[in-house]
């Protein structure tokens, strides 16, 4: 029986707490009597037979949807869209959920005699996946059956012929999505729901949309009014996607949504200590920690990055739901909350976030300074329901090396954003007003996005907006162990050690400030009352 998450009140007997620091980690001692650590629930029991569960979900859909076999018929146009490389984190061991689900759907399609099937990777404005990444996600059988015939596509939001404008919502939001998906008799969307923000109408309304459509919710105003992204009731991002999703349905696009959930078993057994409570570390765990830490200290950063990027998580499927989008997503969200919610009493003055090596946008890539900001203030800060872990005017302390390093193929516009935009201002509103349009319509970035493996020109702006609420909410942001010039370019304060950072934070929140450390990953969601 997995234990639920809990909040540890740090006392003098509390051992040092593991804190992530990019491609590495540190053991940090938190001040006794005023610190607490939030631990994630232990991994839920996985489904005994995931393939059987998938089949059962397809045959017994939720909401007003009919079973999948009865939606399939010869001569129909079937499109299967699936989530891209940004999910799950870290990438899961084979077989990936997407492979299991797509194979089950294709089995039924084959049985029904459907010939016109196209698979689309729902990239939105993310980078195109490589063949290896696609093979990992959907499996060799599916890849080899579709890719050679040009039936495995990657969504191209900048191809005017491949997009169709479906109309505007009652809030004036343009809805423009992939033409093939929109014009199919059935669009099956295969999702992996890692956090509560994923899935639902966001799958199609964001994953298969264009800049023209995305800019209505990926903007500073929406981000600041999404409190948090993980709380559907209070997320403007969620509301906007739901309006668009309903318009898509009203426009006649028939979506059969399949959502899967994972447990938070995040690290292989050699690194199991990363998701254990420190006082329960066995001699083996301590030995592995020391061996890993000492080895990493001697490993060049590039090699360390390769090692960490090669981690494949032993995530296992805990649930699968299929059918009508909203009904499916309700069930999915419930399962996600079951795995991730931790009851937390009250806010804190200082939040400490140890940033791991990975965020959704640097799989097989480099976590550049902009992604450090996005991971810390966009993702970890927003892992709450109710109210933020840290109070308004409080301090966020991030721990990450924050190197001045970018992946030139994956993140070309990030480099210019960092050099040009952030050198001018870090204010999201100013950035949006003065620079977004130019980057979003830049022909070179557009070309790289369409033909190479580059994120869209506007993507670094979205990363910055992702942290807009936190920037407005916090009194100060400090990065421990970060490269000072990168940290200063971000508009934050560098600190050498956590002790220094706490000392600096005391200028803002006083000397007896309360501290909360989010022991993440594994992913959790703080239910702050």
């Amino acid at each position: 029986m997995p234990r639920p998450g809990f909040v540890l009140e740090v006392d003098r007997s509390t051992p040092p707490i593991l804190t992530w620091h990019g491609e590495g980690f540190r053991l940090e001692r938190l001040p006794a009597g005023r610190s607490r650590v939030i631990y994630a629930p232990e991994p839920l029991e996985p489904l005994e037979d995931p393939d059987d569960a998938i089949r059962d979900a397809l045959l017994n859909p939720l909401g007003d949807s009919q079973p999948l076999p009865s939606l399939l018929f010869p001569g129909m146009k079937l499109t299967i869209a699936f989530d891209d490389i940004s999910l799950p984190l870290p990438p899961m061991r084979r077989p990936d959920n997407r492979q299991r689900v797509i194979e089950a759907v294709l089995d039924m399609a084959a049985h029904a005699g459907v010939d016109d099937v196209v698979l689309i990777c729902a990239l939105a404005l993310h980078r195109r996946m490589t063949e290896a990444e696609l093979r990992h996600a959907i499996g060799d059988r599916v890849y080899d059956a579709f890719a050679p015939h040009g039936l495995l596509l990657q969504h191209d939001a900048e191809d005017p012929d491949a997009m169709v404008h479906l109309g505007q919502t009652d809030h004036g939001e343009d809805v423009e999505i992939n033409r093939r998906a929109a014009e199919s008799d059935l669009l099956v969307y295969v999702n992996i729901n890692l956090v509560a923000m994923d899935g639902g109408h966001k799958s199609v309304a964001t994953g298969l949309a264009s800049y023209r459509s995305l800019r209505h919710h990926h903007n500073v105003k929406t981000m600041r009014h999404s409190r948090s992204f993980m709380d559907q009731e209070k997320s403007e991002l969620h509301s906007s996607n739901w309006r668009m999703g309903r318009l898509i349905a009203a426009a006649g696009v028939k979506v059969f949504q399949i959502e899967t959930t994972l447990n938070n078993d995040t690290f292989p057994s050699q690194m199991a200590f990363l998701q254990k409570r420190e006082w329960e570390w066995s001699a083996r765990d301590r030995g592995l920690y020391l061996a890993t830490e000492r080895s990493l200290a001697m490993t060049p950063p590039r090699a360390a990055r390769s090692i960490f990027q090669s981690i494949k998580a032993p995530h296992q499927m805990t649930g699968v739901n299929a059918g009508e989008v909203e009904a499916v997503h309700r069930a999915t969200t419930e399962m996600v909350y079951r795995q991730q919610l931790v009851h937390v009493e009250g806010q804190t003055d200082i939040a400490v976030f140890g940033l791991p090596h990975l965020c959704p946008y640097n799989v097989n890539s480099i976590m550049n300074p902009i992604l450090v900001m996005c991971m810390g203030l966009g993702y970890l800060f927003n892992l709450y329901r109710g109210q933020p872990v840290v109070r308004k005017g409080g301090v966020a302390i991030l721990s990450h090396p924050t190197p001045w390093a970018f992946h030139p193929v994956h993140h070309p516009s990030y480099i210019d954003f960092f050099e040009e935009v952030l050198a001018d201002t870090t204010d999201p509103v100013e950035i949006e007003k003065n620079y977004e349009e130019r980057y979003a319509t830049d022909e070179w970035y557009r070309h790289l996005y369409r033909t190479s493996h580059a994120y869209h020109g506007v993507h670094p702006f979205y990363m910055w907006y992702w942290g807009a609420h936190a920037l407005e909410h916090l009194g100060r942001v400090i990065i421990v162990g970060g490269e000072p010039r990168s940290v200063r370019r971000l508009g934050f304060s560098p600190a050498s050690t956590l002790t220094d950072a706490l000392e600096m934070a005391s200028d803002v929140v006083g000397r007896d400030a309360t501290i909360t450390h989010l022991h993440c990953p594994p992913i959790m969601l703080a239910d702050v009352h």
Partner: protein, 382 residues
Amino acid sequence: MASSGSRRSGAAGRGGVAGRGLSGSVEPLRRLPVTPESLRALRSRVRLPRASSLAFPFTAPSWPGGIDRPPVEKNLGMDYDSEWARRYPARFARVLVQELVSRPLVQAVASPTVDGLDRISHLDEPVIFAANHVSHVDAPLILSVIPERWRHRMFVAGAADYFFDTRVKATVFAFLLNAVPIERQRASRESVNRVASLLAEGWSLLIFPEGGRSPDGWAQPHSAGAAWLGARTGRPVVPVYVSGTRDILPKGGNVIRPGRTIVTFGRPLQAREDRGTSAEARALAERLERAVAALADEQTTDWWTARRRAASNTTPALTGPEAGAWRRTWALGRGAGRDGGRGTGRGGGRGTGLSGLSGLSGLSGLSGRRRGGSGTERWPAD
């Protein structure tokens, strides 16, 4: 330079012996092959493990106070029964060890100076001795200087989660110190009953009300255990102030460095009429904390200055300034101690370049007076 010089001379010496030995015309080397210089050279080449290396994760983690331990092993922690250590065979063996080993060793390592014994000479046993705590040396030091009529009928309150977490540690500490497990976070009914019954049997108690060794050299707030026992049993509580032990073996240290220590016994405190009430326990706890601080002040300055400051309620607190880690460390002593500048660089200021006797002078008062300075300056006013 000295070490490299000694290496060169050693090599030359060996070469010379060998070379001249062939001709048979030179006297053989008349000294041992191991010299102090060669030992120093060896030590400079061999990297000894740092004190911090021996903490978690090199050793097993401590267990947070708020988390219940799974019931894995019986008869450890609070369940440990140390009754055997108070039976005559164990007592006899302990007296031998204390008199023949511990006391001479403490004399050699800590060179204690004892003040204030006249203040407790009139007391009947049993007594509660409540001392500040900065080092593992504190308990053996105090036990070695306590007058004989108490010394061999003493027991020490030891943290159940630290001294009694393994069978070996529990046995060793129960035997050597006659340690009895108590909870350090709170004075539970079980702890109080156990200790009170031993006091009733005539055993005197040595307890450290701070609940553990100081992490940074400054004292920690007292927990109410000692005062609560004093209030409940009505036995006198003797404040004790120890200085200099952190220089010998600081928290986290693994090398004993001989030094000088002072143990000062204060005037015993007695619970008032309404003894046994929690209000009285709280009042006694405050008086005890003030008394220990006044003893520190007395060591740093002089008895009269300390008394005047105590009377006007201006005795400097032992808990140090309300400031960040480095300023607290700085305030402990500005002169570089023997370890001056050899900080660990982590752990909230623990061991960051203090720990010399002069480093502790601001706190505990191996005062500048004894070393030629005024020794009265504590920290800048905040």
